[in-house]
């Protein structure tokens, strides 16, 4: 991996498009943690996120020659990941609750402050509220507010116009706020 260390993403993407598996793996090493975390945020268990990440990476690798560069490389990969995640979630048998560890990154936040207990209570309530949120509102909130993606990135990943993304984001936030009102005053 030494040859790819410190190389900018754009160069790695170019090399990967030319067939360099080493460059592609360097990109995965650089961005794989966040990709996996995003899949978890969509409501997948760790095992499901592993499987979906693998399928996403295989599709991305095979699709690289067709990647036209109109969107950023990782926006493109995240879009594949989002579609794969949706497919996986649709195949799940109906259950009253989602996976027991889905979205727990939010509930597991452990701030080292004197208000830790109060914060944990809010994080737990937030976790439940996110699970109850309609998927079309949850994905924009997760991408923008949990994962920190920009509006244009999140819109590209979800294949939405930025205005539609903003509208869903606002509705999602307002719905969460309503559910969590006692914790947010």
């Amino acid at each position: 991996m030494a040859a790819t260390t410190g190389m900018p993403d754009t160069e790695l993407v170019e090399l990967a498009r030319e067939g360099s598996q080493e460059a592609f793996e360097a990109l995965v090493l650089r961005h794989g943690d966040r990709l996996h975390a995003t899949l978890r945020s969509f409501g997948l268990t760790t095992t499901e996120a592993d499987d979906v990440a693998q399928e996403t990476l295989l599709r991305a690798w095979r699709g690289l020659p067709r990647f036209d560069g109109r969107s950023g490389f990782f926006t493109w990969v995240y879009r594949i990941a989002f579609n794969e995640a949706q497919r996986r979630l649709a195949r799940r048998p109906p259950a009253p609750e989602q996976s027991d560890d889905a979205l727990e990154r939010v509930a597991d936040a452990r701030p080292a402050t004197h208000a830790a207990a109060e914060h944990r209570e809010l994080a737990r309530a937030l976790d439940h509220a996110l699970r109850r949120l309609a998927p079309e509102l949850r994905a924009p909130v997760l991408l923008r507010d949990v994962e920190g993606r920009s509006t244009s990135e999140a819109a590209a990943i979800l294949d939405l116009h930025p205005a539609a993304l903003k509208s869903r984001l606002h509705r999602g936030r307002m719905a969460l706020r309503e559910q969590l009102a006692p914790y947010l005053t």
Binding site: E25, V28, D33, D50, W61, K166, M174, T185
Partner: protein, 87 residues
Amino acid sequence: MALLRKLRFRRDHRWTPAQLSAFLDDELGARARRRVVRHADDCPECGGLLRSLRRLLGALASAPPPEPVAERLVVRFREALEHRHGD
């Protein structure tokens, strides 16, 4: 003047809640931004809504860093690639 103020307050009270996400994301123009600030200062309901949305965004952003799984993903990717080549 009092009537004008009252009318402006009502108009801004209807308008403000829908602008709060854009306000918090710094996506409003300067004039609209000033209008939100002015109304949120005057209106306990909208001011409270703004504060609670701010707190919500803070809680959403406080998720811990992602698990270090990238090396595992690379290993699985290699194995899957070899497996599919072997098919």
